[in-house]
């Protein structure tokens, strides 16, 4: 039950003006394995929803092939494709009851009335909303509609389950709760799933692998941990979480570490992949939470020294902006548990350090 996208591109043309065209998806290659949950993540307009709609069959790719369960499905219309979609707006049929909504797909398959009822009740029991059985859609809350939409998609036992930003209409707390539930249901039924979202936290928590997209192209495909700790380029690093980019130059290369010169001081940094050369200009990616700060009256030759220019107190954390001589971008640091760790004030001088393992090196050409 795998999904394979081969060289998929999609060009939209303006109806009135033939010259105007938008390349929504550019040469996308992706393989989703059986039972896997893959998230398409990216800013709005990055082509993620178009890609999803190409899998479902609502859009036809301009070039490329869509394979589902080992079959090329380019010419198969959406109603004959073995995919089920959970829509952003849920798309609950407003004139049908909850049970009729959930059983809609089975009715289409020609199931008998009693069988449909039995199966609908079974699914609703697993998904824990049996009490809504005979309700009308207008009597449902957002979260309940979401459950109905999911149940309606799952009951068909599709080869592939598609989610189009299903949680974006819910409030923050419900969103967190529902994403756990979606993941639970997906694992319970073991359905191969593709999930579109622009919420990075959602993507990191819910998926086996994350596909980061920008301007129609795939930027990186990797597990959540890999995406966060070893982004392949500046776009991915910047899009997921918050990040510091510190420019430097390689002055020495060892087996697993590089000696990088930051202008004021030098530091050894571990690297996992990439073909770096001595004298190459690089960018060091360090997450704000990886930075350690200490009072900076005494200059430490192994640290970056800077002056605190702004601080924001958030309760569990405190966020600092630090101005560093010779760096155009301010350094951004997050300190956890500020009560115990102690505060710095605006104007304080600090020494900033990080562990070599917490940093990640990008070559200049990975800027993207």
């Amino acid at each position: 039950m795998s999904v394979k996208l081969v060289n998929i591109s999609k060009i939209f043309r303006d109806q009135g003006n033939a010259q105007k065209k938008v390349e929504a998806v550019k040469d996308v290659n992706l393989e989703v394995k059986d039972g896997e949950m893959v998230t398409l993540l990216g800013p709005s307009g990055c082509g993620k929803t178009t890609t999803l709609r190409i899998v479902s069959g609502f859009e036809t790719p301009t070039t490329g092939e869509v394979w589902i369960s080992g079959k090329m499905v380019n010419n198969i219309p959406p109603n004959k494709r073995d995919t089920s979609m959970v829509f952003q707006s849920y798309a609950i049929f407003p004139h049908l009851s909850v049970a009729q909504n959930v059983g809609f797909g089975l009715e289409l398959k020609g199931w008998g009335k009693t069988e449909i009822e039995k199966e609908v009740r079974r699914i609703m029991k697993i998904m824990e909303f049996s009490e809504l059985y005979s309700r009308k859609p207008e009597q449902l809350s957002g979260g309940q509609q979401q459950r109905v939409a999911l149940a309606r998609a799952v009951i068909n036992k599709p080869s592939v389950l598609l989610f189009d930003e299903p949680l974006s209409n819910l409030d923050a707390k419900l969103r967190v709760q529902m994403r756990m539930e979606i993941r639970k249901i997906q694992k319970t039924f073991g359905i191969t799933s593709i999930y579109v979202t622009h919420d990075q936290e959602e993507a990191l928590t819910i998926s086996d692998r994350v596909v980061v997209m920008n301007e129609g192209k795939i930027m990186q495909v990797a597990t959540p941990i890999e995406i966060y700790s070893h982004p392949k380029n500046m776009f991915v690093a910047d899009f997921i979480g918050r990040v510091n980019f510190i420019p430097g130059k390689i002055i020495d290369k060892k087996e697993k570490t590089l000696l990088v010169d930051f202008g004021i001081y030098q530091k050894e940094i571990q690297y996992r992949y990439g073909n770096f050369k001595v004298n190459e200009n690089v960018i060091i990616v360090v997450r704000p939470e990886s930075l350690k700060m200490s009072p900076g009256k005494k200059i430490d030759p192994h640290c970056i020294q800077g002056e605190i220019s702004k601080l924001v107190y958030l309760g569990p954390t405190i966020e600092y902006e630090i101005e560093v001589k010779g760096l155009s971008r301010k350094i951004f640091a997050v300190l956890y548990n500020p009560i115990e760790e102690g505060f710095f004030k605006v104007g304080d001088l600090v020494n900033i350090d990080f562990k070599p393992i917490a940093a990640h090196i990008l070559s200049q050409k990975d800027k993207e």
């Binding site: 609502f58 959406p78 089920s84 979609m85 707006s89 798309a91 049929f93 289409l108 309606r152």
Partner: protein
């Protein structure tokens, strides 16, 4: 050239797509065929009849008609009448709508219902009542004031009748416009220090201007096409084009001249209609707000409020007076001479003209559902499907909104007099005429509701394995039910009250109540005309009641709330 090629490619792709869906293909072809035969073909006939004389192409007929001063006068009168009625009618409609939408005067619901009455009754009732009130033996002129020979026929009377007949259309349009303007905008302007008058002048009015312009143009088209009021009230000294065309054909048996007059009538109607549809209506402001906000009623000062209340009361009084007059007239022995009550008029109607009642009912009851269903299907195809000629389909089907009934009527007698479509005098010609005149209503309400329905809902059905017919039947159609029924009520009302096209198409076998009423008025039997009108309005009210009951029964609040008539 490149564009042409792309168009060709796109069309061929669409054709390839549509051939995969044979039912869709069949539907598209059938609809196109019938639109061409029953809308375009009669219109072409009107044009050809006026530019071909004795099989030869020539502009002689048109030239003759244009050089005739009497016809020219008719044209000027029609345009002047259309312009004045539309401006005054839209002004009154705006004040009425503003009062009901923006103040908290009492009896709002009652005012609304009173303003609706002219819409659901035959358009010439105003003219009849005016004659009964202000005519030679009028209740007010000769009865109350003792004036004899008061000249109500002509310009003044007709303007009065048409304003009363058509201002409700402007009211309905503008009430929608005003209600879509969020009162928070006015509150904001008020809060920023504007006086009430300034807020109205700087915020409310400018936001409503596109709506007002659009109402004026719609009223212009409707007044230009109006036939009943001028036939009764215009008189020979104040000729009106639509009546002239009719008289030319039924009185002089001069079809080419009639067609030429119809053509002259068609040009301003069509141009103004498309000006409204494709230009003015695009200029509407959309005020996007999160949640609907309740009007704060602070935009109108108490003094202004009661002035507006007095204005609305006066207007409501006039409308009620008109209908009361008709009701009284139906029960009066001889209007103007002996106004004591009797049932003679109804006895007369049931003995002489009852066939017209059943004929009208049969035609209305058969044509409205067909028009409604066809309208829904076209709306669905136009909004949701891709096929070549989609825009042309919408354009053609909306055309009958713009074309005056007189023109359509003349077109139908020209087109369906001979084989292959020899339909003159039959039930079919009346029914088809009504079907194709009133599909735009169904299309409009269908398009409106489909644009509100998230396409995802249909996609969800397709995604779960439904094909296009199943999706339409099980998902789209049920969602369109409320629109279908409100369209149905509207086209039923229109079919029951239509006169301008139908008057050309009735025969000894198939007659209509409206035509009967007209001939009673012309032969001076006002009592019978009133009795007919009372029965007609009674049937319409009953039908609306029944449809609403059915909807409430089957759909509960889901269907019932959508019907606002």
């Amino acid at each position: 050239m490149k564009n042409y090629k792309r168009w060709l490619k796109k069309s061929s792709q669409e054709i390839a797509f549509i051939t995969k869906d044979p039912i869709l293909l069949l539907a598209v072809l059938l609809i196109f065929g019938s639109l061409i035969i029953f809308i375009l073909y009669p219109l072409c006939k009107v044009i050809t009849a006026s530019v071909f004389s004795k099989g030869q192409f020539s502009f002689n007929v048109l030239k003759d008609v244009i050089s005739n001063w009497y016809f020219r006068q008719g044209f000027y009168n029609s345009i002047i009448m259309g312009t004045l009625t539309s401006i005054i009618g839209a002004g009154i409609g705006f004040l009425f709508a503003f009062t009901l939408a923006r103040t908290d005067i009492p009896f709002k619901k009652a005012f609304h219902l009173v303003a609706i009455i002219p819409i659901i009754s035959p358009p010439f009732i105003g003219a009849m009542a005016i004659i009964m009130l202000f005519g030679n033996n009028g209740l007010i002129t000769s009865g109350l004031l003792g004036i004899n020979n008061f000249k109500i026929y002509g310009f003044r009377g007709l303007l009065f009748a048409q304003v009363i007949t058509f201002f409700p259309v402007a009211y309905i349009t503008l009430r929608g416009v005003l209600e879509s303007i969020s009162p928070t905008l006015e509150d904001a302007a008020f809060d920023l220090g504007g006086s009430r008058w300034k807020v109205f002048k700087k915020v409310t009015l400018p936001l409503a201007i596109p709506g007002i312009a659009s109402a004026i143009l719609i009223l212009f088209v409707e007044t230009l096409a109006d036939f009943g009021n001028p036939l009764i009230l215009a008189g020979s000294k104040f000729p009106i084009l639509s009546v002239q065309a009719y008289l030319q054909i039924t009185g002089m048996y001069d079809l080419p001249s009639g067609a030429a007059l119809a053509l002259i009538l068609l040009v301003p109607s069509i141009s103004v209609y498309f000006l409204q549809k494709y230009w003015v209506s695009r200029k509407k402001y959309v005020t996007v707000t999160g949640k609907p906000t309740a009007s704060s009623h602070k935009v109108v000062s108490p003094v202004a409020k009661w002035i507006l209340f007095a204005f609305c009361s006066f207007l409501a009084f006039i409308i009620l007076l008109i209908y009361f007059t008709i009701l009284w007239g139906a029960f009066a022995k001889v209007w103007g001479f002996d106004n004591s009550l009797t049932l003679e008029n109804f006895k007369y109607v049931f003995s002489v003209g009852f066939e017209a009642v059943t004929d009208t009912l049969i035609i209305a009851v058969t044509s409205t559902p067909i028009a409604g269903i066809l309208g829904m299907i076209i709306a669905f195809l136009v909004v949701r499907k891709k096929f070549p000629g989609k825009r042309e389909m919408e354009f053609t089907s909306m055309l009958s909104f713009a074309v005056p009934g007189t023109v359509i009527g003349i077109g139908y007698i020209l087109a369906f007099n001979n084989p292959p479509f020899a339909l003159t005098g039959t039930f079919l010609i009346l029914m088809l005429n009504f079907v194709f005149r009133y599909i735009p209503v169904g299309i409009q309400s269908g398009v409106a509701i489909l644009q509100q329905v998230d396409p995802c809902i249909e996609e969800a059905a397709v995604d779960l394995g439904a094909d296009s017919q199943y999706t339409f039947k099980k998902v789209t159609l049920p969602l369109m039910v409320p629109a279908f029924f409100s369209g149905l009520i509207y086209s039923f009302v229109r079919a029951m009250t239509a006169i301008s096209a139908a008057i050309f198409l009735v025969s000894a076998h198939w007659n209509l109540m409206t035509v009967q009423i007209m001939s009673q008025v012309e032969s001076g039997r006002l009592g019978a005309a009133c009795a007919f009108s009372v029965i007609l309005v009674g049937i319409i009210l009953l039908a609306i009641l029944i449809i609403r009951l059915i909807l409430n029964l089957f759909y509960g609040s889901f269907g019932g709330t959508m019907l606002k008539i």
